[in-house]
Assembly symmetry: C2
Homo-oligomer: 444 residues x 2
């Protein structure tokens, strides 16, 4: 250690979350649960590169253009074959490009999940990061996509949240055809414009939205009032239909929308009460949604942004393929949920390592005996460290305690013993047959 | 489908590998195996951001400076709080920064693994990518790092390769102290210079290396000859010592190096014969290695670059912390191995999805019956798709066959039946008790 060494202690990069080992251990368990559930429903995984051609990203970008992170060799000297690339800002554009590129090698309906980081060069704030994990689930098909999938996605996502104990959570489902059909039935010419304005209801309130509908879209005030009133409908079941019908508005598109939303809400009855709502205020501003739309919130933090969302779209691959590819999908904001619950103290972290057993190196036994004990336990599926040197036993036990390792093993060939560091109890044990106190056989 | 739509079918980005679902399924299994084995030895996971401050990367960069991919918002307008960032080119620099930043919150010895992508803006060629997965395993400690870990790493890495059937593989182990001690004993003043030249033995051959030692380092020709002769020593056990001693060269550092390499080679005897060699030609050019060095090769493809490598270093966190942090580590080039074996047809891909059972929707049963069957099977741990509509059975079966789904389930409430699409056999079954033909109880 030279005293003149220049020391620059690194600082965290704003918007790039990073977890300690004990936190990451929980995040990994979350990712495992998400993945296992996606796979339980038969979704395959894809893992496209982190970057796409800039043209590909820009062609699909909505308001995200200015958030795109370009990637370029620092040394410059961009050769002719050096592609202009940028980090993907969501997992949907890479999906579209992937499907178009590998179209002839995929089976449809194409059911895929993707658990990856995405990047956005926006100003970091609560729930908004520059680098974050998204977990996406989509079904694409040639021709039409069965409504079966619109109904299946909420069930899958709720199953995940329940296992992760991300509760209380609410899931708000609507159908763009209900909105568009209703506005068409009301005689509103600029349906998309109306949806855009009504999408602001949450943020600016009913009075301001009514004013905008009247002033900006030139709607009659009773038409504006009924549009706003529609958005106040929220039912835990299919009873939203009666409430909509009360307005006496009629259109074929409205009938279709109501039928689709009812189908999805019927399937959602498998989810415990209090979670899912037919919520006619949900519009999901993006132009490309055309049917079912989903939005999920942490009920305990109403001001926090959506933690999952998605919907149905008519064509994902416009510009890439001559064929239309409609689909329906949902995206879970893993980092957004995890970081919030962590910050609120709702996630209990435990050990800082996956080790279950620390094999102690005793001064009077052979190192080989300790290694052999470790091998035997590992072959039986346990995570085991063999302490690296024959230091004082107290020192080795403190190492285990500090890292949250539950058991210390004394590999005395004459008489193995294991100590439960939680209870302090120590008892004889055989590495070939031992089981932790409270662990059922199936967990080993 | 408008005929005037401009279609730009996307092309692959050179150096950014991407797999089809059936290939990714195997890659995911590989990653699971690697992770499970790392955790079986008690290593914790960390997952630092994909980017680091440019200063951090540049301060550690060896010859990689010009390969660094900078990251910058395409829209520009870099604000004062906009950090200068770049994608990490390995997993070692992020580890160093992470440990320095969180030093007071970590337990030492700090045993961590990291499975992440890294990026290098180099010209793609066989085995060299611009984006690739690395799987790193390191142990850092304050003060000294026990040689126990130098001996443990090859055992862990071999266990992984054996499980992945990445065979035949050879692991070449050396110790920089043997080289430095030998050259010092020979009276060579520029030991590092000699190592650099000898590191080229593989590429340029013994004659050229001898010439360089004589011409560039001004060594006497017998000294050069003995240096080159040392590098020809390769033994499957600790017998390298005799061969080194035959030269009659003496130095304390040489003795230490021999003792350390013997310790590692003794532990490596647990690995089947033909894999591990004490190989005195291995130098690993990087200046920071100071003891054990490792290098792994695919024996069937001798011209292919190393597929794993690593070694012992005296201080990882120079510039970040006042304290020295020595360590020892190994890095497995996952993408490098996987892409090669895939290209050589050595990896058998199967199904393109994780689904084990497709529940058929029969025209004469309720959809609910099919969904219920799916739920029951899923609760028992199976991956199950319920076909999304009651199309012709032949159509549904073809869907299963195309995706490699093994079983088709007919959810007739009066009499469930399951068809093994591999054997064609169809038999009655109960969703609450069914087991696949050749699957032991533990695999469900």
């Amino acid at each position: 250690m030279s005293s003149d060494r220049k020391i620059v202690k690194p600082k965290p990069l704003s918007g790039f979350p990073e977890w300690l080992p004990e936190q990451r251990l929980v995040e990994l368990r979350w990712i495992d649960t998400i993945r296992r559930t996606f796979e339980a429903y038969g979704f395959c995984n894809i893992d496209p590169p982190s970057v796409e051609d800039v043209e590909v990203l820009a062609s699909k970008g909505e308001d995200t253009d200015k958030e795109i992170y370009g990637v370029r060799r620092l040394a410059g000297g961009e050769g002719r074959d050096e592609p202009k690339i940028a980090l993907h800002y969501d997992l949907t554009v890479p999906l579209a490009r992937y499907v178009a590129q590998h179209f002839n090698e995929l089976s449809f309906p194409f059911k895929r999940y993707q658990i990856q980081r995405a990047w956005r060069g926006e100003r970091p704030q609560e729930g908004r990061f520059r680098e974050f994990y998204q977990c996406d689930l989509d079904v694409l098909d040639t021709g039409e996509v069965s409504l079966h999938f619109d109904a299946e996605l909420p069930v899958i996502v709720y199953e995940i949240l329940r296992q992760l104990r991300v509760e209380p959570v609410t899931m708000h489902i609507n159908n763009r055809k209900v909105l568009e059909g209703f506005y068409t039935g009301l005689g509103i010419p600029d349906v998309v414009g109306a949806i855009r304005i009504l999408d602001k209801l949450d943020k600016v309130g009913a009075a301001e939205v009514t004013r905008m509908l009247v002033d900006d879209l030139h709607l009659a005030s009773d038409v504006a009032a009924r549009s706003v009133a529609l958005a106040s409908i929220r039912t835990p079941d299919t009873s939203f239909e009666e409430r909509v019908r009360e307005f006496g508005v009629r259109s074929d598109l409205l009938d279709t929308g109501i039928a689709e939303l009812k189908f999805v809400m019927q399937a959602a009855q498998a989810i415990p009460a209090g979670v899912v709502f037919a919520d006619l205020s949900v519009a999901r501003g993006f132009d490309y949604y055309t049917g079912t739309v989903y939005e999920g919130k942490l009920a305990a933090f109403p001001g926090y942004p959506s933690v999952f969302s998605g919907g149905r779209y008519d064509n994902l691959v416009g510009g890439f393929l001559r064929q239309n590819l409609p689909g329906v999908g949902m995206s879970i904001g893993l980092t957004r949920i995890f970081s919030k619950l962590l910050a609120e103290g709702k996630i209990e972290t435990g050990a800082s390592c996956p080790t279950q057993v620390l094999v102690i190196q005793l001064p009077d036994t052979q190192r080989e005996q300790a290694l052999e004990t470790g091998r035997t336990l590992r072959q039986r599926g346990f995570n085991v460290e063999v302490y690296h040197e024959a230091r004082k036993i107290g020192h080795q036990i403190r190492y285990a305690t500090r890292k949250g390792i539950r058991y210390a093993w004394f590999p005395d060939p004459a008489r193995h013993e294991v100590k439960d560091l939680a209870s302090g109890e120590q008892s004889p044990a055989n590495p070939a047959t031992w089981r932790p106190a409270n662990q059922p056989a199936s967990e080993t």
